[in-house]
């Protein structure tokens, strides 16, 4: 094949493919685009499933079964994102022996798309995290830790944008205040910034500059703090901000049967979810997108 013919053929083929994709979306009876979000939090190095005789979680969890589950869902809907809200490290000897290497490698094999850092991810220091980072074939996002004066400078992105069938999904991360939770010599010069102020700024960028259709926050702030009205939590963050569609939380090991719906500052509903710990559950949120003419009822339908 000469060069000219090759170019022509490629061009036609590309147009044909694009056309095929578009016509499928635009003219099939179901014009909706479904984005599936799968998520975990506080897996804490729980690679193996719990024993059958475990008093609390018999036969539950396990990365290998999680892989089967996730593969099945990805097959059903290729427009799937797999996310984690932090505390990947610490909890079984796998971490004590390998420092998180196996956790990151398995998450890469499961094709995680993004994760945020929890306080326990600092348990071997910023250096210990840095050392394992090459094993992670997915990105870590955090917007409120300033890593400028640490070894992690430039390696953690504030947010990441995914495009699935024309839908733009912005995912940003938030971390808990480390002082008091993690020894200073471990988190070193990592600076903690106010999650609310940072969220306003980041979601403004995601919504207005990046034109995201869906904004997801991976948060390790904790779901809620009963006896403490001052500590920032996911419920408070949801109520005090705008533009966030879903907060995937962690840290408090909260088992929610279904996400909590919170009204934000502009009166829109924000979903706050968390699925316990140790990979016992995977959370699933399906977002359906459609052109306006196909909306049957006004507003958003969020089952509660």
């Amino acid at each position: 094949m000469n060069r000219r013919n090759f170019l022509q053929n490629t061009g036609v083929a590309t147009v044909g493919l694009t056309l095929g994709g578009l016509s499928l979306q635009s003219f099939s009876s179901d014009s909706r685009t479904k984005i599936t979000i799968l998520h975990t939090n506080d897996t804490h190095s729980h690679i193996d499933a719990f024993d059958a005789n475990h008093p609390k979680y018999p036969n539950q969890g396990g990365v290998s079964r999680r892989a089967t589950l996730i593969n099945a869902i990805r097959k059903e809907n290729p427009n799937t994102l797999l996310l984690d809200a932090g505390d990947i490290f610490q909890g079984t000897p796998y971490f004590n022996f390998y420092g998180g290497e196996l956790e990151f490698k398995l998450m890469s094999m499961l094709k995680y798309d993004a994760a945020t850092l929890g306080n326990h991810d600092f348990d071997n220091g910023v250096d210990g995290f840095y050392k394992q980072l090459p094993h992670a074939k997915f990105d870590f996002v955090n917007a409120n830790y300033d890593f400028k004066n640490t070894i992690l400078d430039g390696l953690i992105k504030p947010y990441k944008i995914f495009k699935k069938e024309g839908i733009k999904i912005g995912v940003f991360g938030l971390g808990v205040e480390l002082d008091g939770l993690v020894l200073k010599q471990l988190y070193k010069e990592t600076k903690y910034n106010d999650p609310i102020a940072i969220s306003q700024q980041i979601t403004d960028t995601l919504k207005n500059e990046e034109q995201c259709d869906l904004i997801i926050c991976l948060s390790h702030l904790g779901y809620a703090y009963k006896h403490d009205s001052t500590t920032i939590s996911d419920l408070k963050l949801a109520a005090a901000t705008k533009n966030i569609d879903l907060i995937i939380g962690g840290h408090t090991h909260t088992f929610l049967d279904k996400p909590t719906s919170v009204t934000n500052v502009v009166g829109k509903q924000v979903l706050v979810n968390q699925v316990g710990k140790y990979g016992i559950n995977v959370g699933r949120v399906d977002f359906y997108f459609d052109s306006l003419k196909n909306i049957k009822s006004e507003g958003e339908s969020i089952p509660v």
């Binding site: 578009l22 089967t68 398995l106 094999m109 996400p259 359906y288 052109s291």
Partner: protein, 255 residues
């Protein structure tokens, strides 16, 4: 490019433009959520299983490595206000942590206090393995030295009296209670002095209010040793061929 192909391309491009102009931007119209429990309903993935296997084998081997030996069963329930395992843990932590503390401050730890509930397992007669150490202390608690006033130490004794459990104390303490009051209280064979400050080794968990040991709050000074509780246990076992411990009546009720 021949004219036919060009014409086809141009038509396609026009068609594409029309579609993108007429089809409005899609908006979020519905959300559905589900909690998926990970259980035996899902087969294991052989690729993942095979990947984990060498790591698991290696961890199992390491965890099963014998690092010391005990001629007796050690547990936390073989005495009333003390226990073989509690005495061992308190004494070994003193032995491991005091050189660290002394090097930094030129002071010595006066005694050790942990909580009874913190002893998470027992050790059967025979070989002691790394797994025992992980079972004894699954958490990442750190050892800290808390400088307490004599008044706070009195609060501590009050706590120990009321809680009436075998909270691990190191052998530097001799505390005998009689009818809810102190009959004997010596530290390092010297009578307890209410006007003096004491350096108490404990875990960061208890210092921060775990098990309601509130006397540890707001101490005169707090010294982090950067030494994990579990690391101290393992270090001691590794250097000790045969573990020796016993109930020595360091903490008891006379009546």
């Amino acid at each position: 490019m021949n004219p036919l192909n060009f014409k086809f391309l141009a038509t396609c491009a026009l068609f594409l433009m029309m579609i993108s102009c007429t089809s409005p931007k899609k908006q979020l119209v519905e959300t559905q959520t589900r909690l998926i429990p990970v259980n035996e309903k899902y087969q294991t993935d052989s690729l993942i299983d095979n990947y984990i296997l060498p790591y698991r084998t290696s961890v199992d081997k390491e965890m099963s490595t014998i690092i010391s030996y005990t001629p007796e069963n050690l547990n936390s329930r073989d005495g009333k206000l003390e226990s073989s395992l509690g005495n061992l843990l308190a004494d070994l932590c003193y032995e491991q942590a005091n050189p660290v503390f002394n090097k930094r401050t030129q002071e010595d730890i006066d005694f050790v206090l942990f909580n009874h509930g913190g002893i998470r397992a027992s050790i059967g007669k025979g070989g002691i393995t790394n797994r025992h150490a992980f079972q004894l202390m699954p958490f990442e608690n750190m050892l800290v030295v808390v400088e307490l006033t004599g008044e706070k130490v009195v609060e501590m004794v009050d706590y120990l009296n009321k809680s009436n459990r075998a909270h691990p104390l190191s052998k530097q303490v001799k505390l005998h209670l009689e009818n809810d009051s102190i009959a004997t209280f010596t530290i390092n064979n010297k009578p307890f002095d209410r006007s003096k400050n004491y350096f108490v080794l404990t875990s960061d968990y208890l210092q921060k209010g775990g098990d309601k040991m509130n006397f540890f709050a707001n101490p005169v000074s707090l010294h982090e040793l950067d030494y994990k509780f579990r690391a101290a246990i393992i270090d001691y076992f590794v250097k000790t061929d045969t573990v020796k411990t016993r109930l020595d009546q360091r903490f008891k009720r006379i009546n």
